[in-house]
Amino acid sequence: MAKNQVNRAFQYWYEALQQGPADFLTPATSSLADIIDTIRESRGKSELLPLPLWEEAVSAGFVPDRNGYLSILQDIAIGLTIRDLEERCDKDEAALIHLIRILDEIDQSIARLSEKIEDYYIALHPAGLSGYERNISSLIESLAKDQTQPMSHLARNIQRFRESRTLISQNVRDYATKCLPNMSALCGPLVSARLLAGAGSKYHLAGMPAASIQVLGAGPSLFMHLTSGTNPPKHGIIYQYKGVHHAKRRVRGRVSRVLACQLAIAARIDYFRGALDDEFIRKAGEKICRAGKTD
């Protein structure tokens, strides 16, 4: 590599070295951040040069040794990745997916802790077993009220968890209505968000055939399963939509099939256009409604 090429390629390295690599995460003023921006810009213009060998970098005095070379390289690579992540990822989508996971985790935590508390309570009060109609949440409620109970503090916190759950599910509704407007209009924001989380991204959801959407997440909903011992949902996530759930048994299959078809279209509109399509919603609603009629 010609000497001036080495120099140009090492321009940003050199500056990074002067400033120290530690603070490129602080606001955009820091120098390594500037360097990373420079790199990103020049990448756009295809001006980038191959990386000089570390021996060259050392002998040119840009880095003290091999470790210094790798360390700056790592800092720049991580900094670039983070900038690109920030730009490329859809924050609403990411928020939705993670909020759904948090909701599920809260449900599971509540269910598991409540079960353990129930076990404890029954072990100490076997008499309770006789008239005992299994209703964990009312047990937790009564334990929370009775301050003399050793489990009172924990039971109250479990109830507070339910409040957190309510807040977060409102969050999910808001995000989903904004991020998946057409799907939300068809099967509600919560079910739409779960479908998104099941598929992994709007992109994947938009590419799914209706049959896949119909069975998406057909694993059991742990919380319902644990607390009420219901069958795991056969129809996947869309079964949670009340239009399917409450349909008469013999049309349920048809309703979920038609709904899945319309959702597949809605997912594509949400991904490619992102705006509510009133005309589509009206027609889709009619089709789903017709499927639910027992004739």
Partner: protein, 205 residues
């Protein structure tokens, strides 16, 4: 009994933790010796039967039996599983839980009817003797199924000897031609002995 696509299913209400196939409970041969027996060797007469189950533990197998049977008397002597057993009994009208030691059938004599099927799953040295003592509950012509755990018994020779000994004891107690059935495919080191309680043989004693 209900089979679908090679799966043994159970017609009762689904319980927490159950796996489900076509809306029915899967009775998994890997988790229940009775289901393993059905898979490998054939079905015992459980439909509408009265069953006495010794060593019910937390009642997993009992819950499946109760889906098919008329009533299941479930004996268990360890406090922790008994608590689950009671919960189960409260969800099923036809399970009678008994917190007793199967070595002393006289203690639960006032709570058990004559039964069509006696199943015992107790990993104890004197398991054959326990079964014999509980034959008082078995109707003439009723079936005895005894699960033996032989894993901890050392060499094959010793296991063979032990099985022969158990079979002799049972024959002496009135069980006709007990069949020795291997459950190894699903439960390593476990064997079932299955025979019929015979009036005539019993009278010969």
């Amino acid at each position: 009994m209900i089979w679908q696509d090679g799966k043994l299913l159970s017609p009762g209400a689904v319980l927490p933790g159950d796996r489900v196939y076509h809306g029915m409970r899967i009775w998994d041969p890997g988790h229940s010796k009775v289901a393993a027996l059905c898979h490998i060797h054939g079905e015992p007469p459980v439909r509408n039967a009265r069953i006495l189950y010794l060593g019910a533990a937390a009642g997993s197998t009992v819950s499946f039996l109760s889906d098919y049977a008329e009533v299941v008397y479930a004996v268990e002597f360890s406090p922790r599983p008994v608590r689950s057993l009671i919960r189960l009994a409260r969800a099923r009208k036809n399970i009678i839980p008994l917190f007793e030691d199967a070595r002393y059938p006289e203690r639960y004599l006032p709570f058990v009817e004559p039964v069509d099927l006696l199943i015992q799953d107790i990993a104890q040295r004197d398991q054959a003797e326990i079964a014999l003592r509980n034959l008082i509950f078995l109707k003439q012509g009723g079936h005895l199924i005894l699960f033996l755990k032989l894993l901890s018994m050392g060499t094959d020779k010793k296991r063979e000897d032990r099985i022969v000994e158990v079979v002799n004891l049972l024959e002496h107690g009135g069980i006709t031609d007990p069949a020795v059935l291997d459950l190894d495919r699903y439960h390593t080191g476990h064997t079932a002995v299955w025979g019929i309680y015979s009036l005539s043989k019993n009278f010969e004693k």
